[in-house]
């Protein structure tokens, strides 16, 4: 597009963190290539069969050849790309967020959904979202109460629960 879309895109993107540089590109290519190679080995083990009588591994084999070849190409030509984003201190927050989700999933079947849901929303509001204590407590209690009414009382979905 020849009009000033690019200028606008640039302006809208100004809040994006700086791009990750050649290493992140290479890392992406290596991970994708590893998936491809692992898939290739897996497909061969499954058995390729023949074109007249394809085995279970033939189709994934073809797909993995494409993935592997393109990953190598990405490693070779993609190093100067600027479409990656640097991992910053904000990314640590994301890691913490994922951790809370994993804990949520782990304890849900043990103690029901109420307490984990309450803690999850509270932690996200207070610590990830920097909301005030009062509004964090109010919103998390309100959210869980609303979920309880909706899922348990109205829809009667068999969620694991305490009460």
């Amino acid at each position: 597009m020849s009009f000033d879309a690019e200028a606008l895109q640039a302006e809208l993107a100004e809040d994006r963190p700086p791009h990750g540089g050649p290493w992140s590109q290479l890392g992406a290519a290596v991970v994708a290539g590893a998936v491809g190679v692992a898939g290739l080995i897996g497909s061969v083990t499954l058995g390729l069969g023949r074109l007249t009588q394809p085995g279970p591994g033939l189709w994934p084999f073809v797909v993995c050849v494409v993935v592997t070849v393109l990953s190598i190409a990405l490693a070779l030509v993609g190093r100067h790309g600027t479409d990656t984003e640097k991992f910053s201190r904000a990314s640590v927050q994301t890691a913490v967020a994922v951790l809370t989700l994993l804990i949520f999933a782990a304890v849900l079947p043990l103690i029901g959904f109420e307490i984990p849901s309450l803690l999850l929303t509270f932690v996200w509001l207070r610590f990830l979202g920097k909301e005030s204590w009062v509004s964090s407590v109010a919103i998390s209690v309100g959210t869980v109460a609303a979920f309880y009414v909706l899922f348990v009382l109205l829809l009667q979905i068999p969620l694991p629960r305490l009460i």
Partner: protein
Amino acid sequence: MDGFIDGFGVVLEPANLLYCLIGVVIGMLIGVLPGLGPAATIAILLPITYGVPPVSAIIMLAGIFYGAQYGGTITSVLLRLPGEASSVVTVFDGFALAKQGRAGTALGIAAIGSFIGGTVSIIGLTLVAPVVAGVALDFGPPEYAALSLFGVLLVATVGNGGWLKAVIAAGVGLLLATVGRDTFTGASRFTFDSLNLADGIDFVPIAMGLFGLGEILYNLEERHHKLQTPAAVANVWPSRADLRQARGAIGRGSVIGFVLGVLPGGGATLSSLVAYAVEKRRSKQPERFGRGAVEGVAAPETANNAAATSSFIPLLTLGIPANATMALMFGALLIQGIPPGPQLVSEHPDLFWGVINSMYLGNILLLIMSIPLVGLFVKILKVRPAVLAPITVLITLLGVYTVANQVFDIFLVIVFGVLGYLMKKLGFEPGPLVLAFVLGSVMETAVRQSLLIFGGNPAGFFTRPISGTVLVALIIVLALPAVRALVRRQKERV
């Protein structure tokens, strides 16, 4: 024709009216809110559709999709902040108009253009879809293999970002689709002896993880602008002079949107860009563009709505989704036990015509709501993303659990959520992956059946007229940018 009329009967059932209304309201809301797009919203709401009759479910999801196109306009005009990618170009003239105190004019023109674009496109859909479906009934495995390859590769290469990464993502999607029991030989593939994976990976956790949770995690690293104070909206009705000026743009935008929406990878975003560029090129005073030209709002807003509607054609007639959101619709139909394809018109006419005709109604609802409710939507913008994030996360995690009452699915969503986040950080689009995953088993089955038909000779794909044409077209489309680059380099040398 009977089906068409019966379709209105389906839409006018009170329950379906309600779902249509819910859909367009949710669509407008998320269109207004930056961050969650229509794909994420539809993904997060997939579990709800289990408990809803098929027609109502698809009517609601469709409403979310085209409703979002309306909503995205509001923030583009008032805040210079496109709620959706398809409203990015609307910012130029929309915000310029708002600065001149004519925000109402911009919103009014956009709403009218959207309505006309959407309606023209529905009429096109009504006329074209049954014909295409009729032709497609004769398609065999080779045609389906070629068409699904065409769909996946075109979406991957036309989308934003590098095509290498997009095709790799699509490849991973195809690979994920092979997990589970092979339907031909009964062998277990890539299940790592896990009972949870024995029947393959379900579409819902993949879509909810990559589009829903991935998007939320990505947005946690605040990258949104601080909101400006919205411009005041006074008179929403455009004057007659404005309408006369926008007339041509709305007409051309409808056609451009309809045509580009049908093509795989086209869709709302591309068509809004093209429609804007066409108006600017045609204009006798192109310098007005960017400084508050009414056509600059009318063209892209008309086109993105027309495209959102017409992108249903390949899905409903061929069973090939034209973009990521349509891949979600494909999944939603499969959840309901209805495989999308040419037989949809004859086997489920209530669904086919019900969904299409609901769009007429949905567009009228949107036109009625969008103008008086502008003030309300501006208020909604004040809801902080920090408050929305935990609520959407909880909906996602509990929602996916309710599908099969399995905690394993929650873990799957988290895994795919992290994958979606990492993909976005590293410049991979999750769209091609989900699309390829959805088409994966169709494609593999078609390819293997074709190989049996051709006696193991892959050249056979080129000997059948339709599959051959599709493949040649695909090669031309893929080679075109490379050829153009070569020519340009030659010219530079001379």
